[in-house]
C-alpha cells in the first residue's frame, strides 16, 4: 500500500511525464473510438441487415404432406439449445368474407401452432381457439375496413377478432389469415415449421438436432432448409470487416505502445539518480518495477478516462449513437493494459541499473 501511494506521488511529482503519458493514452482511446468504434458500428449494421434476411431461420417443410409432421413438434423443437422460438403452420385453405360469400375475394388461411413470436405484431385482442387474425395486406382483399369479420371457406367458419403485421422471416404471412389452434391439437398436421436460433453460427448444429427431435411419421421425407448461403455471406462479410477493424486496432495500440514506452523511458532516464537512491535505501528490483508501473498506470488511468469521455462525445456527435458498453469498457481496459505493458521495459531498465555507478561522486 505504501508503495502504491509512493508511485502515485511520483506520478504527481513528474507532471510532464504523467501528462504526456495520459495524453498518449487518451489519444489512443479517442482514435480507437473514432475509427474502430465506427467500424464496429458498421459491422453491427451490416450483420443486422444480413440477419434480417433470415440467417438465423431454419424452415422444416412437409410440402407434399407425406412426412406426417405433427403439431407437437413445436414443443419438441423449442427445447433444443440455441432455439429462440418455433412457429408452426398448417395447410392453407381459402377463406372469404362470410357476408360476401363467393363474391368475395379468397385469401389463404392457415392454422398456427406455438406462441405468436414478436415478429407478428397483433392489433386487437389475441384470438382464442377457433378465432382468427387477418394480416395487414389481407384486410383489403377480404373487403372490410376493420379486422372484425366472419370468414368462411371449405370446412372453415371462423371469426376474425384482430389484425396483425408480420416481419421477416414471417413477412409473407401479412397476406394471410392466421387461425388459432384447437385446444387439443398435438396430432394436427403441419406443413411448415419456422425455427429461429440465437446466433447464425448455431444454424448447422440446430438443423442436425431438429432432424432427431422432430415428431413426424417419415422424418426422412421432411425438407430442412437452412440459410447456408446467407450464413456463409454473413461469416465472410463479418470476418472481413472485423479483420480490418482488428488490424486498425492493433496499429493504434502498437503506436500508442511505442509512444508510452518512449515517454516512460525518458522519464526513467531523467530520474536515474532517483532510482539509484531508492535501490541504495533498500528498494528491491521488483519494488522499482512496481513504482514505475504505478506511475505509468496512474497516468494511463487518467488518460483512459479522459480519452473515453472525449472519444464517446466525438462518436456521439459523428455517428449519433454510442458503441456497445462492453466495447467501451474493453477499449478503456485495453488502453490501460497497453500503457502498463509499455512501462515494463523502462521499469526493468530502472530496476537493473547499478546504484553505485549512479550515486558515486567522482
Amino acid at each position: 500500500m505504501a508503495l502504491v501511494s509512493e508511485g502515485a506521488a511520483i506520478a504527481r511529482s513528474q507532471l510532464v511525464a504523467t501528462t504526456v503519458t495520459a495524453l498518449v493514452v487518451a489519444a489512443v482511446c479517442g482514435v480507437i473510438f473514432a475509427t474502430v468504434g465506427q467500424s464496429a458500428a458498421t459491422v453491427a449494421k451490416v450483420l443486422a441487415s444480413i440477419d434480417e434476411a433470415g440467417t438465423r431461420t431454419i424452415v422444416v417443410r412437409d410440402a407434399s404432406d407425406e412426412a406426417g409432421l405433427r403439431a407437437d413438434s413445436v414443443n419438441a423443437l423449442s427445447s433444443i439449445d440455441g432455439v429462440v422460438w418455433v412457429f408452426g403452420l398448417g395447410q392453407a385453405t381459402d377463406v372469404r368474407n362470410a357476408d360476401l360469400g363467393l363474391a368475395g375475394q379468397a385469401v389463404p388461411a392457415r392454422r398456427y401452432y406455438g406462441d405468436l413470436p414478436a415478429e407478428i405484431q397483433v392489433s386487437g385482442r389475441l384470438p382464442r381457439s377457433g378465432e382468427a387474425l387477418i394480416g395487414s395486406e389481407a384486410i383489403g382483399a377480404v373487403g372490410v375496413a376493420s379486422p372484425a369479420v366472419g370468414l368462411v371457406g371449405p370446412g372453415t367458419d371462423v371469426a376474425a377478432v384482430g389484425g396483425f403485421q408480420a416481419q421477416a422471416p414471417l413477412a409473407f404471412l401479412s397476406r394471410s389469415v392466421l387461425i388459432a389452434p384447437r385446444i387439443s391439437a398435438s396430432d394436427d398436421r403441419l406443413r411448415e415449421l419456422y425455427v429461429v436460433v440465437d446466433r447464425a453460427e448455431l444454424v448447422a448444429q440446430v438443423a442436425t438436432a431438429i432432424r432427431l427431435a422432430v415428431h413426424a411419421e417419415a422424418p426422412q421425407r421432411l425438407a430442412i432448409e437452412t440459410p447456408r448461403l446467407l450464413v456463409d455471406l454473413r461469416s465472410a462479410v463479418g470476418g472481413e470487416l472485423i479483420g480490418s477493424a482488428r488490424q486498425l486496432l492493433l496499429i493504434v495500440l502498437a503506436v500508442g505502445l511505442l509512444l508510452v514506452t518512449a515517454t516512460t523511458a525518458g522519464a526513467v532516464s531523467a530520474r536515474r539518480r532517483d532510482f539509484g537512491r531508492r535501490r541504495a535505501l533498500g528498494a528491491t528490483r521488483s519494488a522499482v518495477v512496481l513504482l514505475v508501473l504505478i506511475q505509468t498506470g496512474v497516468a494511463a488511468l487518467i488518460g483512459s478516462v479522459a480519452g473515453t469521455v472525449v472519444g464517446l462525445l466525438a462518436v456521439l456527435r459523428l455517428a449519433g449513437s454510442l458503441p456497445d458498453p462492453a466495447f467501451i469498457l474493453g477499449v478503456s481496459v485495453l488502453a490501460l493494459l497497453m500503457a502498463l505493458a509499455a512501462g515494463v521495459p523502462p521499469a526493468l531498465l530502472a530496476a537493473f541499473r547499478d546504484p553505485v555507478r549512479i550515486l558515486r561522486v567522482p
Binding site: 505504501a2 535505501l281 533498500g282
Partner: protein
C-alpha cells in the same frame, strides 16, 4: 557486528583491484573511521559494506552470516531494514518535501506510516531542521540537506550506519552536528563506519582503518 575477511574488490575483471586482502571488524556500538588518500577505496569499502557491491573475493559477515553471496532481494531487504547510508552529497529527492525524503528511509522496511512520521518529525527536531518540513530540498542549505539525509538514515534505527564523507561539503558547525548524530547512533548500539579525509575526526572514533 559487521566484518570483512580477506576481502578483495575490483570494478572489472581486468581492472586492478581497489581493495585487496582486507580483514577488519566493525563492532556494534563503536565508530570506525576509514581514512586514506583519494582513490584508495574508502567509498568502495562502504558500498561493499552497504551491500551495493559484491566482493570479488573474501567474506562479508553481518551478525555472523555471509552476506556477500545472498541473492539481490535479500541484500535489498538487509539494506532496507538494517543498514543506514549517508551519502557524500545527501542525495535527496528534489521533487519531494523534506518530510517525504525522511520517510523514504522507512518505506522499503515496511515501517508503519504513522510511527515513521512521528519518528521523522522527532529526528528533524533533534537535528534542528524541523521548521517547515514541507519545504523542498532546493530551499535548504547543504548542511541542512545533509542533516535531513541523516534523519532518513536513522529513521529505521539501523544496526549498521555507513557514512561516506558526510561532512565533506559542510562548514565546521554543521559538521559538528553530523558527528554528534553519528555518536548518538553509535550510543544506541549501531556499528558506525565513516569514510573521511578529515583525520582530526579520528579522535571521535573507537577504531581507525587506514587504506
Amino acid at each position: 557486528m559487521i566484518a570483512v575477511s580477506e576481502l578483495a574488490f575490483s570494478y572489472h575483471s581486468n581492472a586492478p583491484p581497489v581493495l585487496t586482502d582486507l580483514s577488519v571488524a566493525f563492532p556494534a556500538g563503536d565508530t570506525t573511521v576509514v581514512t586514506g588518500p583519494s582513490g584508495c577505496g574508502k567509498s568502495t569499502l562502504l558500498y561493499v559494506l552497504g551491500l551495493m557491491l559484491r566482493p570479488t573475493a573474501g567474506r562479508l559477515e553481518i551478525n555472523g552470516a555471509d552476506a556477500a553471496t545472498l541473492p539481490d532481494a535479500e541484500r535489498s531487504g538487509l539494506r532496507a531494514e538494517r543498514i543506514g547510508f549517508v551519502f557524500q552529497d545527501a542525495v535527496l529527492d528534489p521533487t519531494r518535501t523534506i518530510i517525504d525524503n525522511v520517510l523514504e528511509g522507512g518505506l522499503y522496511a515496511g515501517i508503519n506510516p504513522s510511527t515513521a512520521r512521528s519518528r521523522a518529525l522527532d529526528l528533524l527536531r533533534w537535528f534542528g531542521v524541523e521548521e517547515r518540513p514541507n519545504r523542498r530540498p532546493g530551499e535548504i542549505s547543504g548542511g541542512q540537506a545533509q542533516r535531513v539525509a541523516l534523519c532518513r538514515a536513522l529513521l529505521k534505527q539501523p544496526s549498521i550506519l555507513l557514512a561516506d564523507e558526510p561532512t565533506g561539503n559542510l562548514d565546521r558547525a554543521s559538521a559538528d552536528i553530523v558527528w554528534q548524530a553519528l555518536a548518538v547512533a553509535r550510543d544506541e548500539g549501531a556499528a558506525v563506519v565513516v569514510a573521511t579525509h578529515d583525520l582530526s575526526r579520528s579522535v571521535e572514533a573507537q577504531h581507525t582503518v587506514r587504506l
